[in-house]
C-alpha cells in the first residue's frame, strides 16, 4: 500500500532497573495510513506511552524497525533524524510539565521553527501569531508565561507548538487526561478540527475508551506491552473478541440512567499473557492476538457473524 505513513515491525522497548528487565513494549507491529487516526487504548502499565515515545524515537527500541514514508528511521543518528522530527510531532499528556516554565508563549511556539531553521525572525513571529489564533487563544498570550494560563489553555499552547512546524504525523499522548470534562471536550474538538484542517495523520493514545472512540478511525488495545486487538472502531466496539477488550468495553460507565448495567464481573487477565503476541486477522480488518487453537474458533465465529450480518 503506498499510502502507508508509519510502519512498525516487531517493536520492543525494555527498561532495566534494580528489580530486573521490564518489557514495556514487546513485539508490537502496526501500520498507520495517511490521513487516518489510530487510537491506542490501554490501562496504566500497558506500555502505550512507551510505544508512542519509541515511534517518536525519543526512546531507542531494543528490537524491531520503524519506517516513515517507506524509509527506515530506526537506526538513524541524531543529525540524520532531524528532518524527520519536523514531520513527526508529539502532544504531551501534561501541559504543566511539557512546556518550559521559563519561556514566554512566543518563545515556546517559535522554538521548533528556530531549531528546524525555518523562516526569519519576523516570519516566525508571524507564524506563531497565526497559530495562536488557530488554537483559539488571544494574541496577547504571546508575551505571557505558562503559569498565567489555565490547564485547557496550556494544552492549546502544547498543540500549537506541535503543529507549528506543519508535521505530517502527530502522536497525541493522553492529551486530555489532565483536564476537566468540559475543557476536555473543547480540546478534543479543537484537535479534530485542526486534524481535518491540516490533513494530519494521528496516533491517539489514551486510557479512556470513549475518548479514543471519539477521536479515532481504528483502535488498538494494548495490554502489558502487547497489542491484543486492533480493528476499525465500530467493528471493535460492537464485536470485541478478546475477553480483555470485552471487559474494558463493559466497564465504561454509560451516561444514561436508563441503561444501567450493574454487577457485571470484569475480566482481569493474568499478569503475563499466556500466548505469544501474534495478531491474527479474523476478517473486517479485525486483528486479535491469539494462540493457534483460538484462531480456528475465531475463524468459525467470524464466518457465522458475517453470515448473520448479511441476513
Amino acid at each position: 500500500m503506498d499510502n502507508l505513513l508509519i510502519k512498525a515491525q516487531n517493536l520492543s522497548k525494555y527498561f532495566t532497573d534494580s528489580s530486573g528487565v521490564h518489557k514495556a513494549v514487546d513485539g508490537v507491529s502496526l501500520n498507520i495510513h495517511k490521513g487516518e487516526t489510530l487510537g491506542i487504548v490501554g490501562e496504566s502499565g500497558s506500555g502505550k506511552t512507551t510505544l508512542g515515545r519509541t515511534i517518536m524515537r525519543l526512546y531507542q527500541p531494543n528490537h524491531g524497525q520503524i519506517w516513515f514514508e517507506g524509509k527506515e528511521i530506526t537506526g538513524l543518528k541524531d543529525s540524520k533524524l532531524r528532518p524527520y522530527q519536523k514531520d513527526i510531532q508529539m502532544i504531551f499528556q501534561n501541559p504543566y510539565d511539557s512546556l518550559s516554565p521559563r519561556m514566554t508563549v512566543g518563545d515556546i511556539l517559535e522554538e521548533p521553527l528556530y531549531i528546524q531553521k525555518m523562516g526569519t525572525k519576523s516570519e516566525r513571529t508571524e507564524k506563531a501569531m497565526k497559530m495562536l489564533e488557530k488554537v483559539g487563544l488571544p494574541k496577547t498570550s504571546y508575551k505571557k508565561r505558562i503559569h498565567e494560563f489555565s490547564g485547557g489553555q496550556r494544552q492549546r499552547i502544547g498543540i500549537a507548538r506541535a503543529l507549528i512546524v506543519e508535521p505530517k504525523f502527530v502522536i497525541a499522548d493522553e492529551p486530555v487526561s489532565a483536564l476537566d470534562v468540559s475543557v476536555q471536550a473543547q480540546v478534543l474538538n479543537l484537535l479534530k478540527d485542526l486534524q481535518t484542517d491540516m490533513n494530519l495523520t494521528c496516533l491517539f493514545i489514551s486510557h479512556d475508551l470513549s475518548v479514543v472512540h471519539y477521536m479515532s478511525d481504528r483502535v488498538a488495545v494494548m495490554y502489558l506491552g502487547h497489542l491484543i486487538e486492533m480493528a476499525p472502531k465500530e467493528e471493535l466496539y460492537h464485536n470485541p473478541i478478546h475477553p480483555y477488550t470485552q471487559s474494558l468495553l463493559s466497564s465504561i460507565p454509560v451516561p444514561d440512567p436508563e441503561r444501567r448495567r450493574h454487577q457485571k464481573e470484569p475480566v482481569i487477565l493474568p499478569p503475563k499473557p499466556l500466548y505469544p503476541p501474534q495478531l491474527v486477522h479474523v476478517g473486517n480488518n479485525h486483528y486479535v492476538s491469539a494462540d493457534m487453537i483460538q484462531i480456528k474458533d475465531f475463524e468459525i465465529e467470524n464466518q457465522q457473524r458475517v453470515i448473520s450480518n448479511n441476513k
Partner: protein, 326 residues
C-alpha cells in the same frame, strides 16, 4: 417526618489565605435520604470536596464552615465538640478518599489498619481483631485474606488498596458513606469493581451514600439524586432520570454533552460555549447579559428556584444583588 439521614442547609465554607479570604462553598443545601445514593458532581475547584470534608469537620486548618447547619439524624454536626465528633466519625459516617495509594499508612499492616476503627469505637476486643479483619477482607473480595492481613500497603495494587479503604469505611457499619472521587486514580475495569462494592454495601447495610465525582457516567450508573456544583454553588438538582432527560441549566447540559459516547452517533462534542446562547428558561435568566461560562467562578448573585416539584435550578437574581450590596 424526618427521613433525611443528612441535611445540609445554607452551608458556607471559607478559607483564610495569607491576606484574603476565599469562599469555597457558598450557600449549599443538600439532603441525603435513607438508602439513597446522592451524587455531588462538579469540576475541580467547584467546592464539592470541601462540602464533604465539612460534614466530618475535617477541613484543612485554614478552612472554616461559617454559616449554615449540617444535620445528621437530628444532630447538628457543626455544633459538636471534637470529642463528640470523634464518636460520629467512622462509626456513624465514614469516608472513602480519592488517593487510595497515600490513604493507607505505609508502615502498618493491612489487617491492623482495617480494624483500627472498630477497636477505637470499642466495638470489638483485641482478641476478636483478627477474625473480624479476615471477615472484612473476605467481604471486599480478597481470595486470600490470611495473606493480605499480614501484608503492608506497598505490596498491594491501587485497586486492592481502594478495596481495603472500603473495608475500613464499612467496618463499623456506618449509616452514611461519603465517597470522595473514589475511583479517579484507578483503571476503568477496577473502577467498576470498586463502585459496585460500595453499592453492594449500601444496600447490604441499608446505608446511604454521598458520592462526590466529576464523571456523569458514574452518576448515571449509580446515583438516585444529583446535585451539580459550580464555583461553590449548587446550580441544579433533581433526581437522576429527570436531570439526564431534560437538563435545564446550560452548565449541566454542557457537562452531559461533553462526554464522548461510543454508543451514540456523535458528530461533535458539546462544550460550554455551545450553550452560552441559552440565556434564559421560561423567562428566568441564568446569568446577567455579560456573563460567560468560561470562568468557573459563578459570582453573579443568584438563587435556586424550584421549577418543578423537587427540581431546583439556579437563576440570576437581581433582587438578591440589591440585598447583598445593601
Amino acid at each position: 417526618m424526618n427521613q433525611h439521614v443528612l441535611q445540609i442547609k445554607n452551608l458556607h465554607v471559607s478559607f483564610n489565605k495569607k491576606k484574603n479570604k476565599s469562599i469555597a462553598v457558598n450557600d449549599v443545601s443538600l439532603q441525603v435520604e435513607k438508602g439513597q445514593t446522592v451524587a455531588l458532581i462538579g469540576e475541580s475547584g467547584s467546592g464539592k470536596s470541601m462540602t464533604s470534608l465539612s460534614v466530618l469537620n475535617l477541613l484543612p486548618v485554614n478552612g472554616k464552615a461559617e454559616r449554615g447547619s449540617i444535620t445528621f439524624n437530628g444532630i447538628d454536626l457543626l455544633k459538636l465538640t471534637e470529642k463528640q465528633m470523634r464518636k460520629i466519625r467512622g462509626n456513624e459516617i465514614s469516608m472513602i478518599f480519592q488517593d487510595a495509594i497515600a490513604s493507607l499508612n505505609p508502615g502498618m499492616k493491612v489487617g491492623v489498619q482495617i480494624t483500627e476503627g472498630l477497636k477505637n469505637h470499642n466495638i470489638i476486643t483485641k482478641n476478636e481483631r483478627k477474625s473480624v479483619a479476615l471477615d472484612l477482607l473476605d467481604k471486599v473480595g480478597f481470595k486470600n485474606p490470611e495473606q493480605v492481613y499480614h501484608q503492608y500497603p506497598e505490596q498491594l495494587s491501587g485497586g486492592m488498596k481502594q478495596r481495603i479503604l472500603i473495608a475500613m469505611a464499612v467496618s463499623c457499619k456506618p449509616k452514611l458513606i461519603i465517597a470522595d472521587e473514589p475511583t479517579t486514580s484507578l483503571d476503568v475495569t477496577i473502577q467498576r469493581q470498586v463502585l459496585d462494592l460500595i453499592d453492594y454495601y449500601k444496600s447490604d447495610m441499608d446505608a446511604s451514600v454521598l458520592l462526590i465525582t466529576h464523571d456523569f457516567g458514574i452518576v448515571a450508573e449509580y446515583a438516585d439524586w444529583v446535585y451539580v456544583m459550580l464555583g461553590g454553588h449548587i446550580v441544579e438538582s433533581a433526581d437522576v432520570y429527570t436531570i439526564f432527560q431534560n437538563p435545564v441549566h446550560p452548565y449541566t447540559k454542557a457537562l452531559i454533552g461533553s462526554i464522548p459516547r461510543p454508543e451514540m452517533e456523535q458528530e461533535r462534542l458539546k462544550s460550554i460555549q455551545d450553550y452560552t446562547f441559552e440565556k434564559d428558561y421560561e423567562g428566568r435568566q441564568f446569568a446577567p447579559e455579560t456573563y460567560t461560562y468560561e470562568s468557573s467562578s459563578f459570582q453573579a448573585p443568584s438563587s435556586l428556584v424550584e421549577i418543578e416539584p423537587l427540581y431546583y435550578v439556579r437563576f440570576y437574581d437581581e433582587k438578591r444583588m440589591v440585598t447583598t450590596i445593601g
